[in-house]
Amino acid sequence: MIESTEQALGPTWNLQRCMADLILDAGSAESFGGDPRAFGAGRGLQKADQEALEKFKSQLLVYRDLARTALEDPLPDCFPITHALLEQADLWEGCLDAFLASRTIQSPYYRDVNPSFVAWLANSIWGQERWPFLLELAHFEYIEVEILRWPDEAPAMDLKAAPAGDSQVVFDGATRNLAYHFRVHEATKQDPEPASGETFLLGYRDSEGDFIYSELSAHASAFLARCLEGAAVGKAASGLGLELDDVLDLLIGLREKGALLGFR
């Protein structure tokens, strides 16, 4: 949560606004590079400051590059396949420019650049226009990172190892029940375009803390969604017309893998 920006219009504020526009806005390399004085004048700068923009034109443009370089590490690390896809189409830089220009990187935490990118894709033509799967692909790539570093919880006490019809399932906080319209988990850097197809995945951390996922049936996914909402196992199963024995087996298997902490 960010408090509203302080209103402190003055020469320092004006200069910073000008530089923020130069760094973040999509067409600024051309408009600033073409006429730094006019760029400054349009943003309320005094004549002496406009002249300084002219004098330090190339050095000021270096900051624009540096802000892009700062994203060149975290984004391809977190989104290797999305990055490969855009890079192959020669669109990565344009995507980065549009992302920066959206000014949606707002958190003081560097790591939040990644979820900001997914949130931006969800609201931008980049997420769906050219490739309808892009948002889902990026989301699944981000989920791995989120699961890997989700804050640890204090170990839950008094949990049962075996479920019964009246049990409630206790999930690990890092576990995510995921549904996609594309086979996002099958995409690779070499073949980054996933086929379309309803896909249900459960992502979680194993006992070593590594990311792992299991593919689920639509029924199993719906059942786990009800369990995540707090429904008792038997009620969640009968509501979906599932056999209790089948869902108990599913839960026992997921507990052994580390997706569930136990039963209450």
Partner: protein, 284 residues
């Protein structure tokens, strides 16, 4: 013994597993950015916390944008305060720069205008930070590649006025002094002379790179420290006259832990040699 002396190293992700597995600390102290630790979990986080519980640590912040205008995220500030207490960091430092505007963060260290208005603004913001933090606050001098707007004073005067006005400590980044001296054409020793060295609580030392197309040295933290920077550290240490901790920064092209520790060891030798006359003088 005060652990906050000698040459420490920035704790970096590729080294976590090795460092956590050691029986004892291989450095006098580590430096770490709280923003990269708080609110995290998982196996890598547990390695960090194991190291921080075992070894002395100094914190160094990246994103408060103290020279900027955006209000501080209250949750992030509360997390920072908790982290400073938990790690028993002797102080907390931030760069004398701005990083965000209008709520948008650039994650870049952007230059302050060298003006009276900017001094007044930065001093006021620094005082507010100091009042919030449970430990003393230090400002770090940055590398700057351009003047933002027409300067009313030199960078040196700007830094001095902010440090004095805010009455805060100084994290002297000796590589940044060197980089600025090359990019802007001044003598770094002359620059340091007359600066308030009594405010220096910590130093940074790092490598940099020359960018031909831009005709600039950029503060990349991606290469070993060069000799002229080591010599500058050796020149200033006796003038500070106290064994202030020096931190080796390495953020890019991060080498194997052994290589980084070997660089630390050779910097420690240079550090000890520079301070030997001062410290033996103290015993007389």
């Amino acid at each position: 013994m005060n652990p906050f002396t000698g040459v420490g190293v920035g704790l970096r992700r590729p080294h976590l597993e090795k460092v956590a597995a050691l029986d004892s600390t291989p450095v006098p102290f580590w430096e770490i950015a709280p923003e990269n630790v708080v609110g995290q979990g998982g196996s890598r986080h547990r390695q960090v916390m194991k190291i921080l519980e075992r070894d002395p640590v100094i914190t160094h912040g990246l994103s408060m944008s103290i020279g900027g205008f955006d209000a501080w995220d209250r949750d992030a500030l509360a997390n920072l305060k908790g982290f400073l207490k938990e790690t028993r960091s002797p102080w907390h430092s931030e760069h004398l720069c701005w990083t965000s505007f209008g709520g948008a963060t650039t994650h870049e260290l952007l230059p302050m205008p060298f003006t009276r208005d900017a001094v007044r603004h930065t001093v006021e913001r620094a005082k507010r930070v100091q009042a919030e933090l449970p430990v003393p606050f230090l400002f770090e001098n940055v590398s700057y590649y351009a003047c933002l707007g027409a300067p009313e004073m030199s960078e040196k005067q700007f830094l001095e006025e902010v440090l004095e006005g805010a009455d805060c400590g100084w994290l002297l980044d000796i590589n940044n002094v060197y980089v600025n001296s090359r990019n802007h054409g001044f003598d770094p020793r002359e620059w340091l002379e007359g600066m308030p060295l009594d405010r220096v609580q910590q130093m940074h030392i790092a490598g940099h790179a020359w960018f031909e197309a831009e005709q600039l040295i950029i503060d990349t933290h991606g290469a070993p420290v060069i000799d002229p920077v080591i010599e500058l550290m050796q020149w200033v240490l006796p003038r500070i006259g106290r064994p202030v901790p020096v931190l080796l920064e390495r953020d890019n092209e991060i080498p194997e832990l052994d290589v980084l520790l070997a660089e630390r060891a050779s910097l420690q030798k240079a550090y000890d040699a520079a301070l030997a006359p001062v410290l033996s003088g103290n015993h007389d």
